[in-house]
Amino acid sequence: MIDFSYTVWILLIPLLMFLVVGLFGNRFKPLVSGIAGTSGLFVMWILSLVTAYKYFFVLEKAADGTFQKFLAFNMRWLNLTDTLHIDMGVLLDPISIMMLIVITTVSFMVHVYSIGYMKDEKGFMRFFAMLSLFSFSMLGLVVATNIFQMYIFWELVGVSSYLLIGFYYTKDSAVSASKKAFIVTRFADLGFLIGILMLSFSTGTFDFLTLTGANSPAFSSGTGIMFLGLSTMTWSMIFIFMGGAGKSAMFPLHIWLPDAMEGPTPVSALIHAATMVVAGVYLVARLFPIYVFAAPVALDVVMYVGAFSSIFAAVIACTQFDIKRVLAYSTMSQIGMMMFALGVSGYSGHEGLGYMASMFHLFTHAFFKSLLFLGAGAIIHAVHSNVMNEMGGLRKYLPITHATFLIACLAIAGVPPLAGFFSKDEILAAGHEKSLMLYWVEMIVSGLTAFYMFRLYFSVFWGKETHYHHTPHEASKTMTIPLMILAVGALLAGLIPFSMFVSSDRMPFQSHLEIGIAIPAVLVGLSGILIAMIFYRKETDLPDRIYNALGGFSKAAFHKFYIDEVYLFITKKIIFNYVSRPIAWFDRHIVDGAMNGVAYVTNEASDRIKRFQSGQLQQYALVFVSGVVLLTLLFTYFWTN
């Protein structure tokens, strides 16, 4: 047995970086904090790679040939009830290690990139402190040993996302976007919390090892019907998925993601493309045995929500003009596909293809999507705008960005042999086995994906010649090198025999390329590219004609199907005006009014009584005399016996 307890340093280094940079960062030059953060990340990256190597290649497998799943580090954090306690620790299994690699790699690249990108910003030090905080929280989330630790880091991830989206805090749109992101995910987290409470109440544990082990109490308890004909366990899993859907921007909790693009672009690349938004996928994957065995209905919910989100977002992405928003909807769509893949998956062996495909896609997506975002960042950096109408013909000015962006677009469009092709093929294969209808939905999604990505690509790098205020120029080395490294990842990541490492039962298996599915998928992707090329390579009025021909539908898609407006209506109108305001009024006037009323009555009564004391001597005398006379009367006539 190899000692893995050093993995705790992967967590502690960014925390330390956060504290040091956050507390003392302003004593040094800004660049120092950037370099400190980046070198910390580098150490973590190396540690993660070493861990992955040791885990997959050195550590012997368990007796039944599966990868081991164990706690590398664990300590008691808080005792709740006799059985329930929160621990803090590091859980190692294939998916957590895969996430470690994804997070540290992307985060490292983003750090390097940010040194260049954020160079002129005032809050450079703050930015790196928050990035470290984010890395800490995200890593804590993926290595969580129990669901409560996951929830804790889940919240921390949310807050670091809040802080980073609101990085440009003097911009009102950034402030409200960060607020929106936090509140929407917070609302989802309420569901997560309720789910945790229900799950832990029926199973008596938070521990992942117990919960997802062979004899999990989750399989036996909580099976009774609770509400609407579903069992407690199903409900708790649906609630937990609600948390995951919030973080992963699944419909209808997706509204924060496009707005979150108000943050600096490296942040979007790190948080809103590669890592945090896939936390929901990771959560479902983490609890996958419970979903499969104890709550299949909840898994169906995951499948439908994922499928619907993917097509929904893909349609919207075709109509947006802000390049970061296109990428945001694309992210949502791709995560929908991952969710869908999890939803169609079975447990072991080839049935668990969906699970593997989902994780695979998560892995590859991290590379090409962060590459896309960083590329978009380089474009924005060059032209100081993020509306694609204001761009065009940039391929001459930004050769490296252009090349890497093209690779990423090809990868996401599923062109072989790039990364996206393999993972998407597995997803479609898994979907094909489960439901033919959803399979075609996903097929359309991949076509749309190719279309909108190349729409973006052509309008930015080809299209009309645009005149810029100052000639755009390629970004500095710190920005282009990460692009190139990630492009290599996007090129090659698909070649990894992923099913040999990650599977739902941790048993390696051999997966094959499904030619019957791969060919139509590639054809659909290529036709998407072709259409985009016809529409956008040269400036034509074709897109507008199509747009107008579709009429109401395209308008609705452009307005993101008015979901934002619905939310605004519910929050602003109903909660704020019709709940909170009446409550404030009620409190001031009814509750407080009752208290003040008591005081008023007392005061008034005493005022009345006080008036008897008129200061009129003769009145007092009259009362006195009348009293005496009355008493005399009483004593002489009535109380005599």
Binding site: K610, Q613, S614, G615, Q616, L617, Q618, A621, L622, V625
Partner: protein
């Protein structure tokens, strides 16, 4: 019965005088007239004391002594009261009892 005059007669005279005094006390506004009403009340009581003493207990003198003391107290009271009245008059330039309510509440 005292030489043909029954006790009740004295008492009734005293009573009427007493209540006339009370009436005066309650009605008059001028402080001096109120003082006069008080004298009436005191006197009516004196008559009763004396009449009781003479008719019911002719061998004793308590009633008479009480009257003497009452007269003494009345004298003291009158002097102090008039001093106060004059003082009030100096300050307020009138001695209307209804205006004197500064110390109410």
């Amino acid at each position: 019965m005292f030489e043909g005059v029954p006790l009740t007669w004295f008492l009734i005279t005293g009573t009427i005088m007493f209540f006339v005094g009370i009436y005066g006390f309650l009605v008059r506004k001028n402080l001096i007239t109120i003082l006069m009403s008080t004298e009436l009340i005191l006197n009516s009581v004196n008559i009763n004391f004396v009449a009781f003493n003479k008719i019911l207990y002719p061998d004793h003198l308590e009633g008479m002594f009480f009257s003497i003391f009452i007269i003494a107290v009345a004298a003291a009271e009158a002097s102090v009261a008039i001093a106060i009245i004059i003082n009030i008059y100096r300050r307020l330039v009138n001695i209307n009892v209804e205006k004197m309510d500064e110390m109410k509440y």
